[in-house]
Symmetry: C2
Amino acid sequence: MINEKMLSLGQKRSAIRELFEQGKILKEKYGKDNVFDFSIGNPSIPCPAKINDIIRNLLNGSSIELHGYTSAQGDKKVRDAIASYLNKTYDVNTDGDLIYLTSGAAAGLSITLKAITSGSGDDEVIVFAPFFPEYKVFIDNANAKTIAVKPDYKTFYPDLNDFKNKITKNTSAIIINSPNNPTGVYYKKEVLESICKVLEEKQYEFEHPIYIISDEPYRELLYTYTKYDFITNFYKNSIVTYSFSKSLSLPGERIGYILVNPNCESANEVYASVCGAGRSLGYVCANSLFQYMIPECLGLTSDISIYLNNSYTLYEELSKIGYEVVKPDGAFYLFVKALIDDDNEFSKKALDYNLLIVPSESFGISGYVRVASCVTEKQVRDSIPKFKELYKYYM
Amino acid sequence: MINEKMLSLGQKRSAIRELFEQGKILKEKYGKDNVFDFSIGNPSIPCPAKINDIIRNLLNGSSIELHGYTSAQGDKKVRDAIASYLNKTYDVNTDGDLIYLTSGAAAGLSITLKAITSGSGDDEVIVFAPFFPEYKVFIDNANAKTIAVKPDYKTFYPDLNDFKNKITKNTSAIIINSPNNPTGVYYKKEVLESICKVLEEKQYEFEHPIYIISDEPYRELLYTYTKYDFITNFYKNSIVTYSFSKSLSLPGERIGYILVNPNCESANEVYASVCGAGRSLGYVCANSLFQYMIPECLGLTSDISIYLNNSYTLYEELSKIGYEVVKPDGAFYLFVKALIDDDNEFSKKALDYNLLIVPSESFGISGYVRVASCVTEKQVRDSIPKFKELYKYYM
């Protein structure tokens, strides 16, 4: 009685993983420096030295306290410190009792989706294509349906008409992800406002909350805007999932949080439901050592200027060659139009030039590839002639 | 569209949590030393000093490697080290490719249950009462039914006749937990053999695997036997969930693993399904720092002799007073017959004597209380007169 869905999830490697494995083979054959792996969104710069110092200090304290259970929602002092940081930085006006510490943003999403969908099988969750492929996995886990809205191909903001048409009485939530994986596009104030306006109308029409889940692992990786527009200031029924993976280069440590907007309808019940969902999925508490690290590193980031430089160089150089590239505002990805319609075929051809780039089909649209810029500056530089050769092949 | 089940899970404190909170109030009123809190199974002795040294050493290495993503099932070298330890210690004959690192045993159980039940709603999972209450939460999450088998009240081994009668064509798995929470009883070789014999017959009758999930957080906390009888040597279709929480006093760090028995029918598919379920529930990887800690501390434990002494003293002293106490083989719990039928009422009355003991209703049977022995030796000593007074009240 193996669960067929789980079996297929476990057996089917994601396209990104698949490329990663092919990259390993190429690297053995041609040498590491001659393979240009742009496939994985894995931070390439170390965490700030301060992080390891904080951990060393923590190890000098009581080991029973440091390594003991915290409350299920996370240590109260840690949650209060996050609340105070969010209040100061983004005018949130919350306390720690609406914050729930998680094992990274994936856990945060899986928990939140389970918390705010009925479980009946009727719920619909809207995502904006192109979107992070695991969203569908977590929506499935909540026994809800994934409804994809197509992008405006000029801006890569969501197509508002398509968005309006896709909202039904069964819509429970939408997920936004800004700066975006895979496009690097940031939803500036006006874009957020237009999305929220649609939702306000639809909430009124259908007489129930439609939540915005704002997935923000790239919040601090914003290059072209100076202030992050925080969702709680735009929309009441909103929930934020955050991770320290990208901002602090700690993806393996799985630490992040969920914030329920204090202005959310029945905020305390939404929060209780988040706690229940966490319990149900087997999350006892986020790991305590990395919880206790948080208060001392709120607002701190790794040296993210390298990602900015890489994104800028790739954008400039690929455009110069003739590629059509979406101008990135943040995150560490570039979204590039494939030179043929079939993005899978294009990504496969790129392997001939030792270029590992991810076909956009994984992200719910066709005809593009994702190029991760979280690599070394040398790799970016050395890859340009290869991108040139690939371009020539098709021209 | 809040999920009603999740809301109620989040709002309803467990009886153990409830007692814990009442204990806090009592401690404020009477002073910490005058309240005897036997409610929580939280390790009371520090982790071995070596653990913090290992972490300090790891921090001196490359921070990109240390804090980076591992593969979803855990770092290969770590998995291989665990395999080699299990092979040597328990004759398992596995490699790391059937081991999946988890965020503790709760994650391991939630993942395993989802992996080996169909999700249709028909599956049944058998637990042996008295049982850890969260089993039901994780079984619910897999959309399966919890079927409780009553104990033999003389030995607190499962009642084999009841067990036979409760197995149906829908039985997907049974969970065993030895040494047991809440009884402290260990399922010695003969007991395991009799359980497995029943299952072999029923597998043959119903023509499909019935898995044993062996939940082993207390494996090393075994006092009365010298060798742990490892399930893979008794039954092919078995899966082990393990946690370092209790053996190393690291419950907050959430680190453990799943082992699929290499002799399991379609072992590789069961393992792939475990990987898929982990992905589905939002577990990206177990936290990397504590993964890398594992190879150097396999077989190491905290100074667990304190639990043994406490359990022994409590068993002797409570029996002397006149209480009927289940003789514990391991873990850090004693199971004591309540002096009236209503265990909730009895636990409530105990509060008048500043004794915090958990009613057995939480564990699926009535008429008993659980006394956790993971407390200070002083607390054990000082509590005896209170247990005496409580006894006198009823006699």
